[in-house]
């Protein structure tokens, strides 16, 4: 929550024209990017999210994982 509050305070840097400015070094957490996959993705939309079919596991789109 602390990080979230910090982000919101950074959004004070909001100008009149355009969009809020949030420095990424502060707003972005330590999550690691995954390496690009070798094969082309098979895209499906689930709940509005554009994902790869393999994101969904072996079931049909929308099926709860696990």
């Amino acid at each position: 929550m602390k990080g979230c509050t910090r982000r919101r305070s950074l959004q004070i840097i909001v100008g009149f024209l355009g969009l809020p400015i949030v420095p990424s070094e502060l707003a972005y957490s330590s999550a690691k990017a995954q390496p690009p996959r070798a094969t082309g993705p098979d895209l499906v939309v689930v709940g509005g999210w554009l994902v790869e079919r393999r994101d969904l596991g072996t079931g049909s789109p929308g099926q709860t994982s696990g």
């Binding site: 969009l19 990424s24 996959r37 509005g48 554009l50 994902v51 994982s65």
Partner: protein
């Protein structure tokens, strides 16, 4: 009261007018710089910007500032030149071209950077070595390219007040509202004076000059010409009926959310630049859409439970934010500034802005949203949830950039434009326009960088121009 003649009367002291006035004064021309507001904003002066909106709700009073320095007094400072393809015709969708290509303005960029307090050579896109080739391939597969905006701290009123107030070649007239022009010659083509009123007292004032530059903003430029034509029975700039027509904004649309696995906000080590993705020209042609840029903005609305239904392995903690599309808008004939029957307290008709999103505008936003969602999958750098139901009412999801473009468009043909390739109003010998109202197309970039580029180009032209 009539003021002594000047070489040039520059009407409006915003980024365009201040730039023209400075450059002409540096060339030893005598300049009258007219500003409708004062050194500071006042509610009384600002009220003269009020108007109505018959299309989408739009606040004409709040979207610009009426004082020395103009709207640069509250801009975000976001800078970027137009893309090369923005200058070109789009025969596939019937879009007009600029009267010159993008290379025409490049010689002015170094001075624009100096004026706007930007780095001498801003980085407008990543260095090739800084981007993973696989990521470039993912961008291209989605029809995108990573680009940068950069930030200007310049407030023209603060920055240039000392120079302008001390210049022996500039006579500054604050609180002097230009109302109309008087003219002589065949068809009233030679502008003889600009008729003004004191913004505070209403006292009439006439200022004569050899040349005139109308630079009082993307709405007021059209308003002043429309009213002057109505008073004089002239059709300056309006042979083709395009004066005030083809107004463009930059819709800023929140199209959805994203979860991201890498930074997207700023280029490495550069907090004063901002990372966007733009659609490639081939993408625009393939989908029949306009130019656009997409920003992934960490820190917006984001709900962890949205991901519960799919198996994708999410990093912890999950980071994400909002997806914004900044879109070019079509110069649709219905998007127009017109005079109304209602008058302001100086007797000038107030304006109505009819601004709507066309089907192509909406398609541009939708296609851009889909493209960024595809890029996140292709690059394995995130996922996006896109709401393709584009809102038609401004509010939480749709904002405008307060960029007023296209109402006095440039062109080579007086039947298809209001001013020629140098900004000379068709049908006149000595009346020029500066500012974003010149733009025949708007691209997606904030306009100030191009406004100042055009103002420098116009200044060069005027130094030797003889009517």
């Amino acid at each position: 009261m009539t003021e002594a003649p000047f070489d040039c009367a520059v009407i409006g002291a915003g980024p365009a007018g201040i730039t023209v006035a400075r450059k002409l004064a540096q060339a030893n021309l005598k300049v009258a710089l007219l500003e409708g507001g004062g050194r500071e904003t006042t509610l009384d002066s600002q009220a003269l910007y009020e108007g109505s909106a018959s299309g989408l709700p739009y606040d004409l009073g709040l979207s610009r500032l009426r004082y020395f320095g103009g709207t640069s007094g509250h801009w975000t400072g976001m800078c970027r030149p137009l893309d090369r393809e923005d200058y070109a015709p789009r025969r596939d969708i019937g879009r007009t071209a600029w009267p010159f290509d993008g290379a025409e303005l490049r010689p002015y960029w170094p001075e624009v950077c100096d004026i706007l307090d930007l780095p001498a050579k801003p980085q407008w896109r990543p260095r090739r070595d800084d981007v993973d080739p696989a990521d470039i391939k993912a961008q291209e597969s989605a029809g995108l390219r990573e680009i940068y905006w950069t930030w200007s701290p310049a407030r023209f009123g603060d920055k240039y007040w000392p120079e302008i107030s001390a210049s022996p070649n500039i006579s500054l007239f604050l609180n002097t509202t230009a109302i109309s022009f008087t003219a002589d010659g065949p068809n009233g083509s030679a502008i003889r004076s600009v008729e003004c009123r004191d913004t505070v007292t209403g006292e009439a004032k006439s200022i004569a000059a050899r040349l005139y530059v109308l630079s009082c903003g993307g709405v007021e430029n059209a308003r002043t010409l429309l009213f002057s034509n109505a008073l004089n029975g002239t059709a300056h700039g309006n042979t083709g009926g395009l004066l005030g027509v083809g107004f463009m904004e930059h819709p800023h649309v929140r199209v959805g959310s994203f979860v991201g696995f890498k930074p997207f906000n700023n280029p490495p080590g550069n907090l004063l630049s901002f990372r966007y993705f733009k659609t490639l020209p081939a993408f625009q042609k393939k989908h029949g859409v306009l130019n656009s840029a997409i920003r992934l903005l960490y820190g917006g609305k984001f709900e962890r439970e949205d991901f519960a239904q799919w198996k994708f392995s999410l990093p912890e903690p999950v980071t994400g934010g909002e997806v914004f599309v900044v879109s070019e808008q079509e110069p649709a004939p219905g998007n127009a500034i017109t005079l109304t029957a209602e008058r302001d307290r100086l007797g000038v008709p107030m304006v109505n802005l009819d601004l709507r999103l066309s089907e192509r505008d909406s398609q541009t936003i939708s296609a851009s949203a889909r493209a960024i969602a595809e890029y996140l999958v292709y690059s394995q750098s995130g996922r996006a949830r896109i709401d393709l139901t584009i809102p038609i009412q401004p509010g939480e999801h749709l904002l405008f950039g307060n960029h007023h473009m296209g109402a006095t468009r440039m062109g080579k043909d007086e039947r298809k434009a209001v001013v020629d390739e140098n900004g000379l109003v068709f049908g006149t010998q000595n009346l020029f326009v500066a500012g974003s109202s010149l733009f025949p197309t708007s691209g997606h970039a904030n306009p100030t960088f191009t406004i100042v580029s055009l103002a420098l180009r116009l200044s060069e032209h005027l130094k030797t121009y003889k009517a």
